[in-house]
């Protein structure tokens, strides 16, 4: 399964995919430890689609985004390998200046905490249009006009008055709108939103999700939405990739993830979630996620898995077809059967 990427979209044409990961691996090296925060990620993202990345803390979701966009500070000893193919180019082998240009225009990211992702001592309007001034050749006056327009588009009331304000003057929901406005200025083709609503209240989350989907429908951009919340991705994404211990363990169309999950971890997640409608006893996944520095050769979920056999701990497992448009990294997906949530 090395050279030929398992296409996760129904169509097989590679041109349909805006981004393909082939064996993306991110390793952090300490003096005595090696931590594989992303291990051999294989994933294809269809142009114009919305892909949800779900997983718990430490599963490698944010690391994946940062490795794709090469957002690692030089102070961190990180080794990223594999191929990240974006529009026919391998991002990992692109020159730093070209990469910066892409990040300032068509490849954008919105971070989790809007309180810390904006510069506190810079007016919001200037931050929103920084990419355009650097890469779009906009004058200061034109940039300010553009900032007002963008802030208006993301629903900031009286943007012409607020464009010169500083982050401390805005609420979390408004700052996240500003961060989205900033990401939208370069007319992005691919937007990564890393837990964009996790720091926000539920009514504000609702506003931000509505905004992201509306912008996507208007511009046709591809959206990668990272979330720990299955419900958030359920109502926004076409496909879901589930991550565990630095790996993608399952990927399928959203409906199938919910109706016929084929990885025991996905099944466990679905059973752990309290529902709004009922008070039935939850079925938590026993144990806790593994220490990434101490992973064995086999399936990282095996110690917590109710379907596991002894060989699960020793046999390496890779994503393989579990249906026409469905991949799972499980040796015995048939054991799960139809046992959905």
């Amino acid at each position: 399964m090395d050279a030929s990427l398992p296409t996760t979209s129904g169509h097989s044409g590679a041109a349909d995919n805006i981004l393909s990961l082939r064996g993306l691996t991110t390793e952090f090296r300490g003096r005595h430890t090696r931590i594989r925060a992303n291990d051999d990620l294989r994933l294809a993202i269809k142009r114009g689609s919305t892909l949800g990345i779900v997983g718990e803390s430490g599963s490698g979701k944010s690391v994946m985004c940062r490795s794709i966009l090469r957002l690692w500070p030089p102070s961190i000893d990180v080794h990223v390998s594999g191929i990240v193919e974006y529009e026919g180019r391998d991002l990992l082998r692109l020159g730093e200046e070209d990469m910066r240009r892409l990040r300032g225009t068509e490849l954008r990211m919105v971070f989790q905490n809007p309180m810390t992702s904006l510069n506190p001592v810079w007016p919001i309007g200037d931050q929103v249009t920084e990419g355009l001034r650097l890469y779009g050749g906009l004058t200061k006056a034109a940039a300010r006009k553009k900032a007002v327009e963008m802030l208006g588009r993301v629903g900031i009331p009286s943007p012409e008055r607020r464009v010169d304000e500083y982050p401390y003057q805005w609420s979390g929901g408004m700052l996240q709108r500003a961060a989205i406005a900033m990401a939208m200025t370069g007319s992005p083709k691919l937007l990564f939103a890393d837990e964009p609503t996790t720091a926000l209240d539920v009514t504000i989350q609702d506003q931000i999700l509505a905004l992201l989907l509306e912008l996507q429908e208007r511009t046709g951009m591809t959206l990668v939405l990272v979330s720990h919340d299955l419900a958030v991705v359920a109502e926004t994404c076409d496909r879901i990739a589930v991550m565990y211990a630095g790996r993608i363990v399952e990927t399928a169309p959203t409906r199938e993830i919910f109706s016929a999950p084929r990885h025991p971890y996905t099944v466990g997640l679905l059973r752990s979630i309290p529902h709004l409608s009922a008070g039935a006893r939850l079925k938590p996944i026993p144990g806790q996620p593994p220490d990434l520095a101490e992973l064995g050769p086999g399936c990282p979920f095996a110690p917590r898995c109710i379907y596991a056999s002894p060989d699960c701990a020793t046999t390496p497992v890779h994503l393989a077809a579990a249906g026409p448009d469905h991949l799972t990294a499980c040796l015995y997906p048939e054991r799960i059967g139809q046992a959905a949530a």
Binding site: E56, T203, D206, R271, P274, L276, P284
Partner: protein, 332 residues
């Protein structure tokens, strides 16, 4: 605002409680004689919690739910109103001693990473509580610690470990064991699972449910996550800008909410239904600042149902069904 529903004796009675904080004044404020402003975090709450019940308190950030919870353990003192525990004023209880407040009410905090002393082992943290409050003799402490660990589902092997070597879920179990050590009558849980991952969250929620059925402890569960509150609570109170706007049995709040804020809150929660949403956001704008509470009904600037009366008159508390109350001019 006491909607009884055939529950036990009243355990905690909160009566017209307000908790206000004066705003920090800068030199510029003093020099320009700017008016002294007040954060009305809790602004007139009536609530009764009965023996053995779990009352869920939901609301967005800034609603005052954590302030109310902290006032119940006297981290804050109410600016106005009364809080009674078993009919006796909270302020009249001694803090310590067998009938002291610390033995009656205990709190579990949101962040298990910062609420434990990093230099105390689990057994040291628990025996300190046991010995300080004279729950057991020093010789009996190890046995009592062991039984507490069993009660919260921790292996005996964690007793000698420091918090840093425990996972978030384990730490939260230690926090719970510490609260249970004094055998309190009432437990205040402030966002007990908000810092935990879903698979771990489910373990803690199940543990809390078991404790509830074994011990008959009264609990106030503060949480922003509606599904967590639904899962755990007998009754649910919804807070907005320092007031309780709706209170009823959990199924009534979730299945037939009467207050437009509760309805919006429920609609805003993403469902586990794999279908792309095609709807606008349910509420516009942010929760107003508690420094500057809107006149009339405090929800009116965001309310889809607001009329002119809502902008001027504080809404009455109405009871659309037995045991169900809502503070709205146009409930339903």
């Amino acid at each position: 605002m006491n909607a009884r529903s055939g529950l036990g004796e009243s355990l905690v009675e909160i009566e017209a409680v307000a908790v206000h904080f004066p705003e920090q004044r800068s030199w510029a404020d003093v020099l320009t004689a700017a008016p002294r402003r007040v954060v009305r975090a809790v602004d007139g709450v009536d609530l009764t919690i009965y023996d053995g019940e779990t009352l869920g308190l939901v609301g967005e950030s800034g609603s005052g739910k954590t302030t109310l919870a902290r006032t119940l353990v006297r981290i804050y003192e109410p600016t106005a109103g009364n809080i009674r525990l078993r009919g006796r004023q909270l302020a009249s209880y001694p803090r310590l001693g067998e009938s002291g407040l610390c033995r009656q009410i205990q709190m579990v905090f949101q962040d298990p990473y910062s609420s434990l002393n990093p230099r105390k082992s689990v057994s040291a943290a628990l025996s300190e509580v046991l010995l300080f409050h004279g729950i057991c003799a020093p010789a009996a402490a190890p046995e009592e610690v062991a039984s507490l660990l069993r009660e919260v589902g921790l292996p005996q092997s964690v007793a000698d470990r420091l918090p840093r070597s425990l996972s978030g879920g384990q730490r939260q179990r230690v926090g719970l064991a510490r609260a249970l050590a004094v055998r309190p009558a009432f437990l205040v849980l402030d966002e007990p699972v908000a810092a935990l991952d879903v698979s771990i969250q489910a373990q803690i929620l199940n543990l809390l449910k078991d404790l509830k059925s074994h011990t008959g402890l009264g609990m106030l569960l503060v949480a922003h996550e509606l599904s967590v509150v639904r899962h755990m609570s007998d009754r649910v109170a919804v807070m907005y800008l320092g007031r309780i706007v709706e209170l009823a049995a959990a199924p009534a709040v979730f299945e037939s909410p009467q207050h437009p804020y509760t309805q919006s809150l429920l609609k805003a929660v993403p469902r586990l239904i794999p279908e792309r949403r095609h709807r606008a956001a349910v509420l516009k704008g942010d929760i107003p600042s508690p420094l500057n509470i809107p006149p009339g009904c405090r929800f009116h600037p965001r309310c889809p149902r607001a009329q002119s009366i809502c902008r001027e008159v504080d809404p009455p508390v109405v009871s659309p069904a037995p045991g169900h109350i809502a503070a709205c001019h146009f409930p339903g």
